[in-house]
Amino acid sequence: MSAKYKTESLKCWDKSKEIRLDYYKNYAKAHEKGGLRWAGGAWSFDAIPSGLGDDVYPLTGEPYAASVAWNKDLALRCHEAVEKAGYARDLCSYMRNYWGSIILNEYAFGGEFPMPDFIWQDHICCSHAKWYQVARDLEGGDVPYYAMDVSVGPYDELTENRLEYVVGQMHDGIEWLEKVTGRKYDDEKLIQAVHNHCRSESLWAETCALNKAVPAPLDEKTMYSLYVHGTLHKSSRIVADFYEELRDEVKDRVERGIAAIANERCRVMTDTQPPWAFLKVFRYLEKFGCVSIGSLYTFGLIGMWDIQEDGTWGPRKTPQELGIKIKDRDQALHVLAEWELKKPEWQHFYSPDHKSDMMLRIAKEWKLDGIMLHYNRGCEGLSLGIAENRLALKEAGFPVMIFEGNMGDEREFDEAQTITRIDAFMESLNFEKIKD
């Protein structure tokens, strides 16, 4: 059957790959150029350590652990090393991949596991701060460690008391950074980093909004390799500029009607991190002409959204766009905290209906035929309330399918059963495999 739409590979694809590999190389080689390494979560405020200098390189735990998960052999050895050290096998699989990498002293990008100079972590999921408590023990027990609690309730109930708790910890964090690194803190670099942070997250949201188009210019499997930059170093200029270039290219694809999937006829979204070792599950969907246009995960883990004038969901305006001129450290921290506390994937920690509302909005505005929820045993944070999300989506009349798995521990993913469930789901949506 001849293709329904024209497809084209992404021009910025190679650049995206290069940025990511440089990121991991820079971290490993940081000390060679007198630079500093810090380790922490992808949701840490990475803008703040930027005030220590341009030679300060982060390694964010979650995307690093996902890279371990892609390498099945290394992932399995990591799980076993962690279980041998006495840790339970049902713990967060990212955390276990990370710890395993330290115990084995193997860096997923070659060579030994580089030791951080300090740990700069956030805490919203109840394993977050504990993740790096154990990492510090495994790294000898004396790496300086600072963690910030951002679990102050949903954005629509934010009060001054709650915002000041977060900003207070940020101020203390900067004094702590100066003490443990011995470096003088540069507020100008912080202000620049805050602008990059907001730009990156707003541009990524704008790119995802472009996926409302039929046919969808991007499929979720590709988006996983693009949104990752936001989880690596969203407050860096390189990432902000890359997202601008990406937004322009995707806008152009929409104008020329370029599709991600040649014979797209069924549009779905997923949820939570995918089983990283089995992304070919998405290729199987293509046999039915089915494309996943994304998820609250790919849209809202680092994208920042707002209701636009026409009432639909779109990118949140950055401080720059709103003409806000950040003058000093305190204002920079307030802007950053207030901006980040609106993160979509931080709202469901307080009640599932925050997330259900956003998922329903995506289902309607991105014109979906069904939803495929990945019941992800590897992450309790993003699987929090997923059963209630399912009920809400079904209540609103959307067909919903579940497949069980684990983002970082492929021992808990049953490919055969997942394929059977996809067959049954497509069948119930009256889509048959396209005879090629």
Binding site: E80, K84, G86, R411, A416
Partner: protein, 290 residues
Amino acid sequence: MEKEYWRWPESKWTSSDIDWKDGDIISAGVDVGSVSSQAVVLIDGKLYSYSNFRTGSDSPESAQKVMDKAMEETGLSQDKIHYTVGTGYGRVNVPFAKRAITEIACHARGANFMYGPTVKTILDMGGQDCKAIHCDEKGKVTNFLMNDKCAAGTGRGMEVFADLLSVPIEDMGRLSFEVDEEPEPVSSTCVIFAKSEAVGLLRKGWAKEKVLAAYSSAMAHRVVELLERIKVEKDFAITGGIAKNEGVVKRIEAELKIKALEAKHDTQIAGALGGALFAKALIEKERGLR
């Protein structure tokens, strides 16, 4: 009647060169496990007779049956046995036992007798649970670790698998090596995942032997994880039913890079044997000999 592949051969043995009538202390141990039960009789601490039968659904009955089998045709009778210790899951309802001691202590003591004082790490792979035990040169337990819930059912899993493949359980070990190269193990998360994955491989056209190799290495893998958490100190010995499955044993040894001591007796009697040795010590205490 459809052949029951899972039914492993029961056994009994009596020494030909010992006469219990010359014995001063006659002690016995009865191990009522989740899948199998054993009885052992010692004459002055020397192995006189043992039996190894399937555990029924009534543990007092199973205990009595296996004790009777150990005494069959020897002229011995219950009242002539000075002290009996019960062990295993059903230890509390061995009607004729004077004391109940756990199978962990008994397996350590039994292994010490069977393999000698150099054994320091014992792996007991029973029907329901796996135990990794450290003991001193006298066979006293110094540390032990048991499988977590998800890793239970190794022994039972083997029976279910024999049935699935229609392969007699006692041939599984040998057959699992009739492959040209060792396949990837199936999931070792739990017995049920392993089985459903194995069924998938069969359906993909894998030969029985290859699937057996993948399943056996998964079972071995699970147990090695337990052993490595307690750290294997030499010498190392394996007791319990699965010790007879070379498919699992050899793969454990390969992964640990440590050879298990050669079994001198039926590895399944270690628990009952330990119980009988404790019984001897207890009767000696009662008689003030200790």
